[in-house]
């Protein structure tokens, strides 16, 4: 008996030793934490710049100046102001437009995720707690959502209702709620049989109160993780829709339609597509890394070290 036990212990040690092999024990954890912290900083930076830059910039993002069109980054105009990111095909300053677009993209993303989250949480709670008929119907709808590629559904809805910001948000709420609902439902199902819920019921709590005060807080953690990943996803999809021409219409800048405009000038003026793209990648990456870091934090299983 002892022989086998000690052998297993040794094997365990061997495996754990492999895990820490080549690196200090703490470094991997620190690395991941550093990355998600970095992501948080980047996101905050972008938000701040989105709020500030259009205010303090010398340039009007909508004013066209055809003498100044397609100038490379760093070009100084007649009045002595530098176009840090260059100008676009109508002579507008790209940097100002990039951060103005950031406002719109970030706003759309937050509202969409918030909306989808609210719908999803409510439906998930109801579905998990009450079960039965509600559950079946809601889950059927959720499954059905999965079948349609988001973009195609977005295309269809925009085709019908017209390309504007409200419809984009609508599309994301309609397609984004299932993942929230599913997660909440799973946790609710697990929690609903617990004793403290039964105790609360005995004390006279009605169902709504139980849901809000007891179940919801316990479900919150995976929700935050999912919300940050969804944020990254929505930012990318929103700009994809903008790229296709469905979304905010010109002259309102969004990262997507800026890049669509820049497509014709790819070989002559690369900065038209590059800067919105970088901004987009940074923002999406930031939210993804934040989500990953939060995931590490909350889920003990994915920890290593």
């Amino acid at each position: 008996m002892n022989n086998i036990t000690s052998k297993i212990a040794k094997a365990d040690n061997k495996m754990n030793a492999r895990k820490a092999w080549g690196f200090r024990k703490f470094f991997p954890l620190f690395r991941r934490a550093a990355l998600s912290l970095f992501g948080a900083v980047v996101l905050l930076l972008i938000i701040m710049l989105a709020i500030l830059v259009p205010e303090i910039s010398h340039f009007d993002p909508f004013k066209q100046d055809l003498f100044a069109r397609l100038q490379a980054p760093g070009w100084v105009n007649n009045a002595g102001f530098t176009h840090i990111f260059g100008t676009d095909q109508l002579g507008r300053d790209i940097m100002t437009r990039v951060f103005l677009a950031a406002r719109l993209s970030l706003a759309i993303s937050f509202i969409s995720v918030g909306g989808a989250g609210m719908v999803g949480i409510i439906l998930g709670l109801v579905s998990g707690y009450f079960g039965g008929y509600f559950d079946d119907i809601i889950m059927r709808f959720a499954d059905f959502q999965l079948a349609l590629p988001l973009i195609l559904l977005a295309l269809a809805i925009v085709a019908l209702l017209g390309p504007n910001v409200t419809n984009v948000i609508l599309v994301f709420i309609v397609t984004g709620w299932p993942i929230f609902a599913r997660t909440v439902r799973a946790s609710t199902l697990a929690l609903r049989e617990q004793e403290f819920i039964e105790a609360a019921r005995c004390l006279g709590c009605n169902n709504a109160r139980i849901l809000m005060r007891h179940i919801l807080p316990n479900v919150a953690r995976p929700l935050i993780v999912i919300a940050s990943f969804e944020l990254g996803k929505v930012i990318i999809y929103e700009s994809s829709l903008g790229f296709l021409g469905m979304g905010a219409q010109p002259p309102t800048p969004t990262w997507g339609n800026m890049m669509a405009d820049g497509r014709s000038y790819l070989d002559t003026a690369w900065w038209l597509t590059f800067f919105p793209g970088i901004a987009l990648v940074l923002t999406a990456a930031a939210s993804n890394y934040i989500g990953d870091g939060l995931n590490e934090l909350f889920d003990p299983r994915s920890r290593r070290a």
């Binding site: 820490a20 973009i151 890049m259």
Partner: protein, 291 residues
């Protein structure tokens, strides 16, 4: 599938424009409009229209495209192989890169390779495929003059589009493979084998692989939707004549039957693929069998 068709149909027919008017142009007289409406069956009640739609659809007739005045199903069938080609290529690339990286990362958790792999995986999920496509075009096709910028043709036309579609999926694959493998490797039977002194031999590895595959193909099946969606955008960037481009043009031209047909076909593909995944389940894991 039923629900899908209902919703698609409803969507298209709630449209606030009158498609017949659009078709005939602004100068059509009211009688002409009424005549065509009758011919297209648009003046019947909704449920009746829906039934006729389904009836025809099952026979492969998905309506006439308003713009091209050709059967929609013909347009879709012509464009579909292109999209499938692109999607398959991207899937192939993503799997080719993603699974080995994921496995290696799981074998050495916490190592430099592992951290790097995860970093790149998340990065891949943060890069929009159209931006990657545009950047690739700029650098590879325009600067270096290595590969063509657009259109469909031989292998060299396929490389860039597939490369811009693949990273997103590859990121997902790396992460799910790694997680799945980590789970499997910590199973008791693996630990016991280790204790008995076996290294991670090929035989053991094969068993671990089989068990790890399950969540991987589940996720792959579910991601088909996202893949098709990504294909839509990539096709637009590269001028790839597939279903995605068809749909985008149709939306711009308010060509509803085409949009309807595309959405329906995509949903169908998704359902079929997930069915295949379910069947694969029972092949891979003998414990799961359908009675």
């Amino acid at each position: 599938m039923f629900l899908t068709s209902v919703v698609v149909f409803l969507l298209i027919h709630i449209t606030p424009g009158d498609p017949v008017r659009l078709m005939l142009g602004e100068h059509a007289s009211d009688e002409q409009v009424a005549a065509v409406r009758a011919q297209m069956g648009l003046d019947r009640s909704f449920p009746e229209q829906y039934l006729r739609f389904v009836f025809r659809a099952l026979q492969g007739d998905l309506g006439m495209s308003i713009r091209a005045v050709r059967p929609t199903s013909e347009l879709v069938m012509v464009a579909l192989p292109a999209t499938l080609e692109l999607t398959a290529a991207a899937l192939f690339l993503a799997v080719l890169v993603g699974i080995p990286v994921g496995i290696l990362a799981a074998l050495k958790p916490g190592s430099l390779f592992d951290n790097l792999a995860l970093f790149l995986a998340l990065l891949g999920q943060s890069i929009p495929s159209f931006w990657l496509g545009l950047t690739l075009i700029t650098v590879v096709a325009l600067r270096w003059q290595l590969l063509p910028t657009s259109g469909r043709g031989g292998l060299q036309h396929l490389i860039l589009p597939a490369c811009s579609l693949a990273p997103f999926l590859a990121g997902i694959i790396v992460r799910i493979t790694r997680t799945s493998f980590l789970d499997v490797l910590s199973q008791d039977y693996i630990r016991t084998a280790y204790a008995k002194g076996f290294p991670l031999s090929p035989v053991l590895f094969k068993h671990a692989l089989k068990n790890a595959m399950l969540p991987i193909i589940t996720i792959l099946g579910l991601q088909t939707g996202a893949l098709l969606g990504g294909a839509v955008i990539t096709e637009t960037v590269f001028g790839w004549p597939g279903v995605g481009q068809l749909a985008v043009n149709a939306v711009h031209n308010r060509d509803y039957p085409v949009v309807q047909a595309v959405v329906l076909v995509s949903a169908l593909i998704f359902v079929v693929i997930n069915l295949v995944v379910d069947i694969l389940y029972s092949v891979i894991d003998p414990r799961i069998r359908y009675q």
